[in-house]
Symmetry: C2
Subunit: 269 residues, 2 copies
Amino acid sequence: MKKSLPIRAQNVREPAGTGTLGKAIAVLDIIAASSGPLRFTDVLQLTNQPRGTLHRQISNLIEEGLLTVNRDHSYELGLRLLQFAAKAWASNRFRTIAEPHLHRLHEATGETVHLGVLRNTDVVYVDKIESRQNIRMVSQIGNTAPAWCTGVGKAALSALPDDELRARLGRISFRKFTPNTLADRQALLSEIEFIRAEGNAYDREEHETGICCVAAPIHSADRQLIAGISVTGPAYRITPDVLRSWAGITRVAAAAIMDDMATQLSPRS
Amino acid sequence: MKKSLPIRAQNVREPAGTGTLGKAIAVLDIIAASSGPLRFTDVLQLTNQPRGTLHRQISNLIEEGLLTVNRDHSYELGLRLLQFAAKAWASNRFRTIAEPHLHRLHEATGETVHLGVLRNTDVVYVDKIESRQNIRMVSQIGNTAPAWCTGVGKAALSALPDDELRARLGRISFRKFTPNTLADRQALLSEIEFIRAEGNAYDREEHETGICCVAAPIHSADRQLIAGISVTGPAYRITPDVLRSWAGITRVAAAAIMDDMATQLSPRS
DNA sequence: AACTATGTTCCATATAATGGAACTCCTATT
DNA sequence: AATAGGAGTTCCATTATATGGAACATAGTT
């Protein structure tokens, strides 16, 4: 199954647990995905692996600190993940390059600014700037949302080459989050055509009622990294006109980030 | 080497990469620990594994999204870690139980409140409440500090059974962060005696100049989970007397958290 | 243009993961 | 209090997977 890959394959859907590591992460994923705490047997059913095998996998994960077990045999993700994530966030070059531009955009608009990276068909938010920073950060950073119904996500999708775009759309299962959510692949495709022509994506309360945004796509020269930036606000305050008035500076910010990436991440620094 | 462990072994020092998973995580650790970006050969030397082996391990980590490679072949921790951490943080039961008490303590003191969990000889900060929440959250949550020179850490250490304490102290390599940093094992041991008698730990600019705190230990009934809570402030504003005046409510908060743990995490809920 | 660093692939061998079944422990029920 | 059932744990022969050495490829350097 696993062809020796050139060490470059990112943004690729893994076929659910190839290799020892893959299986271990698959277990981690199951526990991460569950809403409530899971007990051993719950995980057993979700993985349908032999009991002995699963038990050892879990033991290993616990030993590595990636998993924690409570006295009642329910499992939680381990602290080591927080440790790793703190490092991942602080040292991420894309994020650090983008950061000053996010601040500038925030100052210009006074509204919340997001930076998100496309991963499969989801957006992972990697940074966020807001005025009243009373919202818990981790509750946002690292969170994911479906790409096809968020501004950042749609912007990012629009930066994909056509074949990649089709491939990913095929993996989306559409569902309505709000009355405004795009209903199907066709609607999304024509929306993306519009975004490509326009240079901006809009979220008009498609993911959450009362929340709208303007976004612009970001990508590295070789399109390995596909991302987006957005300015978000409450619909009652941010009219469509206001939103449109920010389209330009949002595109400019995205362009500036790409520029910095080109110079700072070039082979010859 | 790896004895089939009862599925309970947390807080245990792993002997650096046992099993396939362990080795993979060890690679991740090396990349996390480095200050700058690492290239393949750098990692190769730090692990001293055969090239073929390392190459495949890295490939697997990339495939799982735990690692990312830039065009210049430097490696970064992957986004998937952020994703996992967001879940880990939001669903952590200990943290959610403690959270209201942290807020109460913050309101009573007006200063920054920390919650940290002991992991080996380090403290991992899992929550933080501060008034002006203009400091980036992830820059704190998930961060680690040496247990022996922080308030939370010393408090946590004091909750360890004596044999465990000795064992862990043996793994500490002392170094001076500030003029006030405790110099050696002996100093730390007598400090811990004091903490046990008193019920509170103090950090008097031992880790960072200008920063001091009062802390109190937290532990689960079976002492599997060892943690601490602290109130922190700038030394110029928080005199030793003020600090001492918060000792009581800090202990009370810690006790309340343990209480809630006992009821909410009991086998029979 | 040749050289050297660095990264990548291949394959026989060694090692670790697998999975079935037996065992233990806890818990719920009578 | 005894017992049955479920849940978690251990063991070990078999099988699949990771290993590591060396050959190959590529990019950067003199």
